[in-house]
Amino acid sequence: MNAFNLSSSNGLLVKKSFNLGTVLWMLALALVILKFISWTMGAGLPVWLSKPPNFLVWPFADWINAFFNFISEDLGLKSLTRLFASGVEWFLDITANLLYGKSRWPRIGPIPWTVIAVTAFMAGYALRGWKLGILAGGTFVWVAVMGQWKWTMETMSVIVVAAPLAIVMGLLLGILAWRYKNFENILSPILNLAQTYPHFAYMVPVIVFIGVGPKAGAIVTIIFAVPPMVRMSLLGMKKVPKEVIESGQMSGCTKRQLLWSVRVPTARTEILIGVNQVIMQCLAMVVLASFIGMPGLGQKLLQLLQALKIGRSFEIGVTIVLLAITLDRCSKAWAEKQPEHFERGTSWAVRNKMLLIWLGLMAVAFILAYFIPIAHEIKRTQAFSIAKYLDDWLDLFVRFVQPAADWLRAFLIVNILIPLREFYLWLPFWSVLAFFGFLGWRVGKLYSCLVCLAYVGLIGMSSWWDRSMITAYTVSFSVFVCCLIGLPLGIWASANEKRALKVLLICDTAQTFPSFIYLIPVVMLFGVNDVAVIGAVVVSGMVPMARYTIEGLRGVPTQMLEAGQMSGATTMQSLWNIKLPLAVPTIMIGLNQTVMFSLFMMIIAAFIGTQGLGQELQRSLSAADVGKGTVLGLCVAFMGLMIDHMITRWSKERKAALGVE
């Protein structure tokens, strides 16, 4: 309320005096008009007005390269990282041997697929019940039967190593950050950056330091998965109730006892949610790491997609989705599982029922595998594949929708995408800069204004301005489409509770898929081009939009709705006048996520089209150009951070003003 009063009483003053916001707004507008006028007269603006002037474009990439060279060669960091990598490799060899029989120590693998499937079943069964058991066990049966065992195990062998390492490192860093405030202050901007730093940008330095192959794949996966773990363990440590800590102190805990016997166990739920996030991040990254020579499901999918073998890639897509759902559900079930007691006098066998069943089933599986080869390994030739039928069906389907898809593609490209792109590129740099400064001013006065100016300015100085604008155009168009579909979908779904829960479940599930997956259907429909990329971005970006719309609408306090009803509001009136205004802050958080998803997807999808930052990033990846990769990665991250800053800040203030949680 105060904020409103203040701004209205200052309203006159603001109009009289010039503030930075209006100045920036007028500047942006004036430049655009100027350019438009000069354009109609057949002339252009001077280059230094419409593009970032040369003296401002600094060779960041060269500096970064020089810096990397210095630390890796002169300071000998390279030998250090290679040492770490060989440590990781030792673990990788063990899991590789156990899971798919790579001939390395301890040379006892491969474990028969039946044993692994049974183990997965028991894990699911013990964590949640037979439904999850069947999902987990079934996933591995599917993998084996479809003849994808080796690729899946190649992928799993990396996850099995990377996830625990990332968890331990994240937990320790989280504890350090909790313990030392200074460390947290250093860490938190890095964590923020890490959230918006594109996948590929992580890979470039890893190529330089480690090389390519499974080892590099594992390490980039670890690096990528650590930040959420740090975040969650820090959050968990901070959330431990003060009283619980005091009770520990009064029980005479030393500092160490207090940490490991009181704080960490009490933060269990948050830490396990961190574990869940680590596992999902690992899966997402391990699939993408195929770009730096990581074998497994991702590489197979990449090859098949590039060869347009839709049926086969669809099979692999199903495997990745099943794996994602299994890993997500199991780790979430673990986080939610609360300890339960046994009655006194329960026998050992009953207490350890799960263990015994597991051992029994494993024994059966081992014996089966010993006598029946097919229970040990299903060879490619024995495998079952539905790719042919799938291809037929998909062909039929595609032929059926082809005219519509072709028309849509042509329409989008000619009438919307190309003009829009030209417009974005036409916009003078200074006016874009001033416009974001103005937006920042509107959201959070001077501070936000400077933040936005800094981000846009740095992108301008990066020598990738045009590329960034291309990325900005595809992202903004995709986000627009996401809202166009996601918002109504969310409103429709939230109309009744049952439907809302169903759609939320679908959204939750879809959010666990590695982004790569979304490429399969769009490539199928549109082939390999810009429209396919935008399609993939829209499909993945729509999910958070719909999800937060539902949550926002559902979160509106019942009392307010009842008050509306008693005032005689119709369903539509109550939607427009009560629900939506109150849900807007939450919906904006959805929008924020949609932007982030779109940015990520944009970069990932670059290999099937688009000329934005993603394409250049992939070039830098194949050229192992750290400087360029880092600069491009930062360009993407800065866009993300700027949007994130504005939306989060706005949404927070709006929530406070509305008094809703």
Binding site: E243, E246, S247, M250, S251, G252, C253, R268, H341
Partner: protein, 347 residues
Amino acid sequence: MTNNTPVISCKNIWKLYGANPESYMKTVNPNASFEEIRADGYISAVRNVSLEIQKGEMLVIMGLSGSGKSTLVRCLSRLVDITGGEILVEGENLSEMNEKELIELRRNKMGMVFQNFALLPHRTVLDNIAFPLEMRGQDRHECRERAMEVIKLVDLQGREDYFPRELSGGQQQRVGIARSLAIEPDIWFLDEPFSALDPLIRREMQDEFLRLQEMLGKTIVFITHDFDEALRLADRIAIMKDGVVEQCDTADKIVLNPATDYIKKFIEDIEKSRIVHARGLADPIADEDVSGEAIDGNATILELSRQLVEDERTNIPVVSGKGKLIGVLNRKKALDLLFGSHNGASK
């Protein structure tokens, strides 16, 4: 009480929050009010408090929320470091103890019960109770034995293997109480232990608590915001407001002679005859006529009301529980307390 050295004695203790409390402490006027200190940018959670707690005594610290009572008890257990003053626990200066001595003190002499139970969610009832013993590094078997003893004490047999989540609020607090008693502390801090419970359960827990105290005879500092609870349990009550102890005395004396306006307001609506005991209202024996049947000093005036109305003596002898004559009760004074004085009635 034979031993006269107090178990806990605090002299002029202060707890200030703000930018630089230590240096501000040196300049502050000891009689400054809460508002004056706040104007200087500091919050005085505890202000110039002096208290003594005798062995086996139950001191109840009473105050509304934000009055500083929780901070005070945390100063006494040194969960919070005081800004000024001195706290002696069994003659030793609490602030001067190092980490190790403090841990030793807590492991052997102090126990504390918390408002929201503060149980460890990942441990069973038994393991929660054994926790302080484990922290001392005691043998596992011994820990279990002792924990089982305490479980019996608080009447939780059969629930040893439950997790806190599986218990009701009252049961959880029994675990909290048992945990604090596991190491057999001499000093027992209870920070609003029953405030998070339903009124009926609260009553039951108070009875339980009184039973335990009768058995164990600990030195107790009990925090509450509930005046009825304070009256039921306390030997002495310290009433706090804005970090200051307004009055610290027995319930009888607080009700009969409130020290400040704040306390007067506090006891305004209290049915005094229900609180005041015959011994509290009795005068010392002078040369009045003190013959005839005596009344029990530990009975409240309300409990004696019928007898007081029917008895026609001016002065009635009062005896202690053991039958020793301790004073005389002026019947008119008692009746005034029961029915209001003439002046009071005409008001």
